[in-house]
């Protein structure tokens, strides 16, 4: 009888643990790595619209973008369609996700029908003259920061981890980043980026989270730059994943294919 009671107690404890205990929290490093390595499929195509608002003027750039992720290398092909002064310009880049070295880059100049290898931008330089840097778009490598979980908060109805990442090296672009990371999709919904003197430099607000082809993706990224008093919005439309894009699309031939 005693043995039976013990078994019942053990069963109740086990059930109680499963039903009432909170979901085990992820370690801050684990959250950072899951965000950094979040899968966006093997390849992606989209129409990219970049609006830059500065000193009362708005500039718009529209481009068709193709990307492929294979063997730790992200290959991106961008072909500009608007405004007219850049229409036809194409840009191809190879970035190693597991390396800090500048990637390989080529541009195609339609007027002279020439593909040129160009010196690689460092990751801190501005993406298409906007408030986004290349590093903002690809994310900071988690190994370069010390992470701390500040808590949880809901943004637009979605539960988020609040993750603080403090730079380990002085030469990093931001001294500290506080990010609100969706607990389900591991997409960053909001981020505050602090400069080397510890002042708030930029705020990123991510919206329009949708699931396309089974992959969580965000369609709108707004970056406010408090230092420059400007903001840029990056929007994606006609997004498609895993289109089985041909490897040859990410080649010099593809750039020349006009």
């Amino acid at each position: 009888m005693k043995m039976k009671m013990c078994w019942i107690l053990l069963m109740l404890l086990a059930l109680g643990g499963g039903v009432f205990a909170e979901e085990p929290e992820l370690a801050p490093e684990e959250i950072a790595w899951r965000t950094f390595n979040r899968s966006e499929g093997v390849d992606k195509t989209a129409v990219l619209t970049l609006k830059i608002e500065r000193r009362g003027a708005t500039r718009t750039r529209v481009a068709q973008i193709y990307s492929q992720y294979k063997d730790h290398t992200e290959k991106t092909l961008i072909r500009f369609t608007t405004p007219p002064e850049v229409a036809g310009f194409s840009f191809l880049s190879y970035e190693r996700k597991d390396s800090d070295r500048p990637g390989e880059q080529w541009i195609y100049l339609p007027a002279s029908k020439r593909v040129m290898r160009i010196a690689g931008n460092d990751r801190r330089s501005a993406f298409m003259d906007s408030d986004f840097s290349y590093e903002d778009l690809s994310g900071q490598n988690p190994k370069d920061s010390k992470h701390r979980l500040l808590g949880k908060e809901k943004i637009n109805g979605g539960s988020c981890y609040i993750l603080e990442s403090v730079a380990l090296q002085r030469e990093m672009t931001y001294s500290k980043t506080v990010a609100w990371i969706d607990t389900e999709s591991f997409i960053m919904r909001r981020a505050e980026l602090y400069d080397k003197s510890g002042e708030l430099q930029k705020v990123l607000i991510v919206s329009d989270l949708v699931k396309i082809d089974g992959i969580f993706t965000a369609l709108s990224f707004n970056m406010k730059n408090f230092k420059k008093q400007s903001q840029s919005t990056l929007s994606f439309s006609k997004v498609a994943f895993n289109q089985n894009l041909d490897d040859q699309l990410f080649s010099e031939r593809s750039l020349m294919n006009r």
Partner: protein
């Protein structure tokens, strides 16, 4: 020659109309530009102070890179004070099949990888009569021809081109601008007190077909290329016939074979590139040799032209620096027509206010002729579609000719307004 051009253009048009691309998408772009120049006294482009240009670009084809057919038409209407002209820059049809790409019609082909001096930019002649400044591609003349490319393993590309009737470089119709070797020669003759007579500007021979082959390969972060090109000098050299009455000068366009090697290597934010063009036994004019009566002072010699460059990007700063030169087999100090013996160039561009304002400066020094160029300029883009360029060209040394032939005077200011549509 005109018949060949018309045939090639019509054939390209028929191919375009017959292909499905015609119904898919037509893309119309272009630019309207006007430029004002302010010269100092040493003006060698007299009478050309203002000009306007309307560029029309029409392309057809699906905006998807994977589509095989594409059509391009590009023309400029140039409105100068006294010399209006319409120039078709491109008019070609392109088709891809498997690993092959074919381009037929009037086209621009640039085999050089350098951004400053380009010894292997062999296919398109230069239009020195066009007033476009800063935009090097504006000065290139399209050639009617067939361009065939084969992509092997995506790492090796074999490219062949045939140009049945290659055009020659164009010069300003007025003013006293001539290639460096002729100017030097005439000065030399004046100094020696020799009477001379210059025959009318020469025409190219009828059978001036040019052809070439290029093989390029990518190994890691290094690109390598080998080139063979059979062509004609696109600027004339001068046969000097010494007669009892004086010296008669006659321009000719000698055929030449060119072997080229090129490489580009990327190291982090640095890019290194180099090009060598070797002309074995090319005809040249030797300005120092005045022959006995009945002799012609023209000779053969082999010649190297080379250019080395490095490019560095640091944030919004882009720096290009390099050197270039030429060496001949008989005497390295001999004047090599349009080629300097040694020169240095640099170009620094900076992007301010996220591309709204781009200050830049380019500098050039040619040791042999002791010519120098300082060219600071500013590009202002107040809003989408509009661009304003303003700059100052300060040329030291001899009057602009040869390498500096594109510049119109020793000192001048210019202002250029462009609207893109």
């Amino acid at each position: 020659m005109k018949q060949v051009r018309i045939s090639v253009a019509l054939f390209s048009l028929i191919l375009f109309l017959a292909s499905p691309v015609g119904a898919v998408c037509l893309d119309l772009h272009g630019a309207i530009a006007t430029e004002m120049n302010y010269f100092t006294e040493q003006n060698c482009w007299e009478g050309i102070r203002e000009w306007g240009e309307i560029n029309l670009r029409l392309s057809g084809g699906e905006p998807d890179f994977s589509q095989p057919s594409f059509f391009q038409f590009s023309a400029d209407a140039i409105l100068q004070e006294d010399r209006p002209q319409i120039k078709v820059r491109e008019f070609y049809y392109k088709y891809s099949l498997g690993n092959w790409d074919l381009r037929l019609g009037k086209q621009l082909v640039n085999w050089s990888w350098n951004k400053g001096e380009s010894p292997l930019d062999l296919v398109n002649p230069i239009d020195f009569a066009d007033q476009a400044l800063l935009d090097g591609y504006d000065q290139r003349l399209g050639v009617y021809g067939l361009n065939l490319l084969y992509y092997w393993n995506d790492r090796v590309v074999v490219e062949g081109i045939v140009v049945p009737k290659a055009p020659i470089a164009r010069f300003a119709s007025e003013g006293d601008w001539r290639p460096t070797d002729l100017i030097s020669l005439l000065l030399h003759l004046e100094e020696m007190g020799i009477d001379w007579e210059l025959k009318p500007w020469p025409r190219r021979e009828q059978d001036s077909t040019e052809y070439g082959l290029r093989i390029t390969s990518t190994i890691g972060r290094t690109d390598l290329g080998l080139i063979y090109y059979h062509g004609y000098r696109d600027t004339p050299i001068f046969r000097q016939v010494t007669e009892d009455t004086g010296l008669k000068l006659e321009g000719i366009y000698p055929a030449e074979d060119i072997w080229g090697f090129q490489t580009v290597h990327a190291v982090g934010a640095f890019l290194f590139s180099g090009e060598v063009a070797y002309r074995p036994e090319a005809l040249c004019t030797d300005t120092r040799r005045i022959g006995e009566p009945g002799q012609t002072a023209i000779q053969r010699r082999s010649e190297f032209r080379w250019a080395l460059e490095t490019e560095y990007v640091w944030g919004d700063l882009r720096l290009i620096a390099g050197c270039f030169g030429a060496k001949a087999s008989d005497n390295p100090k001999t004047l090599l027509g349009l080629a300097p013996t040694l020169g240095f160039l640099s170009r620094i561009t900076y992007s301010l206010w996220d591309g709204t304002l781009q200050p830049a400066v380019e500098a050039l020094y040619i040791k042999e002729s002791d010519q120098s160029l300082i060219h600071p300029y500013l590009i202002f883009s107040p809003c989408d579609g509009w661009e304003i360029k303003a700059g100052l060209c300060e040329i030291g040394g001899a009057a602009p000719a040869g390498e500096l032939g594109q510049y119109r005077a020793n000192d001048y200011l210019y202002l250029k307004v462009i609207f893109y549509y």
